[in-house]
Assembly symmetry: C2
Homo-oligomer: 160 residues x 2
DNA sequence: CTGTTAAATGAATATTATTCAGTTTTATGT
DNA sequence: ACATAAAACTGAATAATATTCATTTAACAG
């Protein structure tokens, strides 16, 4: 039974909390904050990486700085359940597609897409999506303004 | 005219590319890779932070490790346009809400939510969403499986 | 108890970050 | 084109951090 595949103690959670907020916090600082030796923190962090608890460290970049002013969500309806796992993988390969989620209920996917502008979106739909077999229809929702987008998980105080 | 508020040259883009992939890449490594002095890289990175090109460095944590198995998107229809900016801010304050987007067309928001399980989702809707004034209705889409979720922007090779 | 394993410490060393003076490059006004 | 000012870069010196590892401590099963 792989019930607790990742058993995280209080210290691990604290490390995660710090790292989720600032992935560039150095070991020395974390060690100071938690009152431990830097070497101990280093070991734990490496273990968290190996156990795939920490998936990646990434810099969040301001989309506006790269002129990617347009954000959209697109619902994609697919043919049927059989042989459609491939659609998800193909969608994931499209560069402007940031997220691909297999959704319940309507045989399909919800994807999150960032483009320069509406022309870029049209372009993506014409040139990329239309080339993927198994897509029946799409419904696009355009984002006017993003209020929050940090994707930070809620880290509990206790964990079994 | 604030046309080029962030003018990024080729080197900046390379730095962003590296940092987006691994926010813990150290200056020395970046400097080696780009054939420049570490001090120059340091300066540029700091400037990118100050110019708000780099918004934050965060560790992406495996939701499964924190037992947050459930991901949902919820469309939220709001009363009207007047006085509804507040709804977005209130939504953003709910811990399990990872993203809040003001969407076009239907007077409302699309939010991304992560909960432990379906009970957690119900809980959120009953205890948090229902308390927010101005929400007329909600439509929830449940994610069965996430194929991609890296939120990495496409960084162009050239930029004016 | 005793042996075994996992985790932490603390010191030594390697590497990196950071500062800064001096130089080069770039941009700009004349 | 030229002079000048501002911005960016280099390289060396110093401060700080990362990393390694032998030893100690803690946790725990038999």
């Amino acid at each position: 039974m792989a019930k607790l595949e990742y058993s995280l103690d209080q210290i691990d959670l604290q490390i995660l909390r710090i790292m989720q907020d600032n992935a560039r916090t150095n070991n020395a600082d974390i060690a100071r904050e938690l009152g431990m030796a830097p070497s101990a923190i280093l070991e734990r962090v490496k273990k968290l990486e190996q156990k795939n608890v920490i998936l990646q460290y990434n810099a969040r970049i301001n989309p506006a700085a790269l002129d990617q002013k347009m954000l959209s969500f697109i619902f994609i309806k697919t043919q049927d359940i059989i042989g459609v796992q491939k659609v998800g993988l193909l969608l994931a390969e499209v560069p402007d597609v940031l997220e691909v989620h297999d959704i319940a209920g309507e045989d399909g996917y919800l994807i999150k897409v960032r483009t320069n502008d509406s022309a870029g979106l049209v372009d993506l739909m014409r040139n990329s999506l239309s080339k993927i077999e198994g897509i029946i229809s799409t419904r696009t929702t355009i984002v006017l303004e993003t209020v929050k987008e940090d994707n930070k998980l809620v880290i509990p105080s206790k964990e079994a």
